[in-house]
């Protein structure tokens, strides 16, 4: 079973008189353990697609099913449910809670997801240790390097058993070798733990971990490529 299936997603931004067709019928599926790279020039609609597929934004039309369940975009609660249960986001600018320590950032996500149980907490600590932050648990984000911040963001995104990870330009704010480390972590999470990963990027280095590269142009998929 696919972990995520998007069909014919159309998104039109309409603001005042201007009308931007950001997505013109995108269909894309993610399988467990699969890493898909979304490439394309600036303004081609990568971020918009992630927002829709990640249930942060309602599409103008199209269907989405996540872990076998259709998403009803007319019900904000349904979108919240999917974000809570299945999806984690990693952003270019980390977006950590500056007042919380590394561990608290992750635990808070569990709390919001209603999953602050001993099992999930243990899992969160394990993830943090596996990605090399075991000695940074009590640091606040201001004292972390960029790579460390992004690793915290990944741990937070996956906390509570989210099976699907969306990463928008995860390496853009990192030095190249630090970026490679982060990519290694993403790859391990997909291959060893069976999570699905979708990465939008301009960074050619990201191709090294891809199972599949998808190119976008002007809101359309232009070519598929199997890696």
């Amino acid at each position: 079973m696919k972990s995520l299936v998007a069909e014919e997603i159309v998104k039109v931004y309409q603001e005042g008189g201007s009308r931007v067709e950001a997505l013109r019928g995108i269909s894309l599926a993610l399988a467990p353990s699969e890493i898909v790279i979304l490439e394309g020039p600036s303004g081609s609609g990568k971020t918009t697609f992630m927002s829709v597929a990640g249930c942060l934004l309602s599409p103008t039309s199209g269907r989405l099913s996540v872990e076998g369940q259709g998403v009803d975009f007319s019900r904000p609660k349904d979108m919240v449910r999917v974000r809570r249960e299945s999806i984690g986001f990693v952003f270019q600018s980390f977006n950590l809670f500056p007042a919380l320590t590394v561990l608290e950032n992750v635990l808070y996500a569990l709390q919001i997801r209603g999953k602050l149980t001993p099992e999930y907490e243990r899992e969160a600590r394990t993830i943090l240790e596996q990605i090399g932050l075991g000695h940074r648990l009590d640091f606040i984000p201001a004292r972390l390097s960029g790579g460390e911040k992004q690793r915290v963001a990944i741990a937070r995104a996956l906390s509570g058993g989210s099976r699907i990870l969306f990463a928008d330009e995860p390496t853009a704010n990192l030095d190249s070798h630090v970026g490679l480390e982060v990519l290694g972590i993403l790859r391990r999470l997909a291959k060893e733990e069976g999570r699905s990963v979708l990465v939008a990027t301009h960074d050619p280095a990201v191709r090294t971990i891809a199972d599949r590269v998808v190119r976008m142009r002007d809101g359309c998929l232009v070519e598929g490529e199997n890696g």
Partner: protein, 375 residues
């Protein structure tokens, strides 16, 4: 439990401190204002409530407060004495008189005269002298509060009230009429004789009920026998005088305005700080949504912060008010911080702070998590 609301507050300690201080200042302003007002209003009953033996006060019709006495025939007291259930009734003179001071200036004095001081426990705050001696001649007891207006005086000194010399034979302490006009106690008949207006008259009749007497019945009977007078219980009479100052002088309105402004300033400061804070943390709130939180999670967070600021501000403001109390005392003002006032202000602070937090709700509900994608 990860308490993001507290961590956020403590992350920016300076702002937390300043916001709390803003609330504390408002709390202090309201407490001090209302406390001083209660103290001030208390003075209006200073010569009524302590006369515990006087269960009832008989006044001339429509007298508004004790300082503005009207006079009626003194022999009406005999009719009162014959009412069943009345154990004792005596005349009390209260009159405003000029007093001449040794330095040639003059001022005012509230003259009190009672026919039988010893039976009523009046005056109740004697520092020196024996009130029984008042009958013996042109003597008076003067409250030491008068020092403020008359300058220093001692037992044995003479002062002139409407050109009659009175010797100070005793000193009282703690009596502060609402008007701040000092109080002097004289023999009833000497007080009565100070002017022609009060000749053969009295200002009030004090009534002490027999044990077990039916107060309502006695009052009704007094009203029947003295149709041109009013009868009040001690508390009602005290209240009447206070209400006069509160409602007929604009004093109550004035205080109400200051309390209102204090609350308003507090709420506006807080609402504006909370709103700016919300704006600054918009990304974090967007992240709460991205993780799977909803608006309710963020509203609760904001309300919790407001509640913490409210409690901290209340405690600090109350502390400040208690620190001001002794200062007020030095200025001869009583700052009364009653449990009722403290409780009311606490509830109001909490409610208003929560109200202020709702100003940010609209903003929160419109946070677009897509902003997280922006670098």
């Amino acid at each position: 439990m990860v308490d993001l609301s507290m961590k956020m507050l403590l992350h920016d300690r300076l702002r937390f401190a300043l916001t709390t201080f803003g609330v504390a200042f408002s709390v202090m302003l309201v407490l001090v204002q209302v406390g001083l007002f209660e103290g001030l209003i208390g003075y209006a009953a200073d010569t009524i409530l302590p006369i515990r033996q006087a269960d009832l006060w008989i006044t001339s019709r429509n007298t508004q407060n004790i300082d503005f006495a009207n006079y009626f025939p003194e022999n009406l007291v005999n009719r009162v004495r014959s009412v069943p259930g009345v154990e004792r009734a005596d005349n009390l003179m209260v009159d405003f008189m000029p007093i001449h001071l040794p330095n040639g200036s003059s001022d005012g004095v509230m003259v009190y005269g009672l026919t039988h001081y010893w039976k009523w426990g009046v005056p109740w705050n004697v520092v020196s002298g024996n009130p029984l001696d008042l009958r013996g001649g042109p003597y008076m007891f003067l409250d030491d509060f008068a020092t403020h207006r008359y300058g220093p005086f001692r037992v044995g000194d003479y002062r002139e009230i409407t050109n009659q010399r009175f010797r100070i034979i005793g000193v009282l302490h703690g009596l502060r009429s609402f008007t701040t006009i000092p109080v002097a106690f004289l023999d009833f008949y000497r007080a009565q004789a100070l002017t022609d207006i009060t000749f053969g008259k009295t200002a009030y009749i004090l009534v002490h009920l027999s044990p077990g007497a039916d107060r309502k019945a006695v009052m009704a009977e007094i009203r029947r026998r003295l149709p041109y007078n009013d009868v009040f219980t001690r508390k009602a009479w005290a209240r009447r005088g206070q209400d006069y100052w509160i409602f007929k002088t604009g004093l109550g309105f004035n205080m109400g305005m200051i309390v209102f402004l204090g609350c308003l300033v507090g709420v506006v400061i807080l609402a504006q700080t909370l709103y700016t804070t919300t704006m600054e943390h918009v990304r974090e709130f967007g992240m709460v949504k991205a993780i799977g939180g909803d608006n309710g999670d963020i509203y609760r967070l904001l309300m919790r912060q407001a509640a913490v600021i409210a409690v901290a501000g209340y405690l600090a403001g109350t502390l400040l008010a208690f620190l001001i109390k002794p200062l007020a005392k030095k200025g001869d003002l009583d700052l009364i911080l009653s449990p009722g006032l403290l409780a009311t202000v606490f509830v109001a602070t909490l409610a208003l702070c929560l109200l202020a937090s709702t100003v940010s709700f609209r903003k929160v509900s419109r946070i677009d998590p897509a902003l997280l994608f922006r670098s």
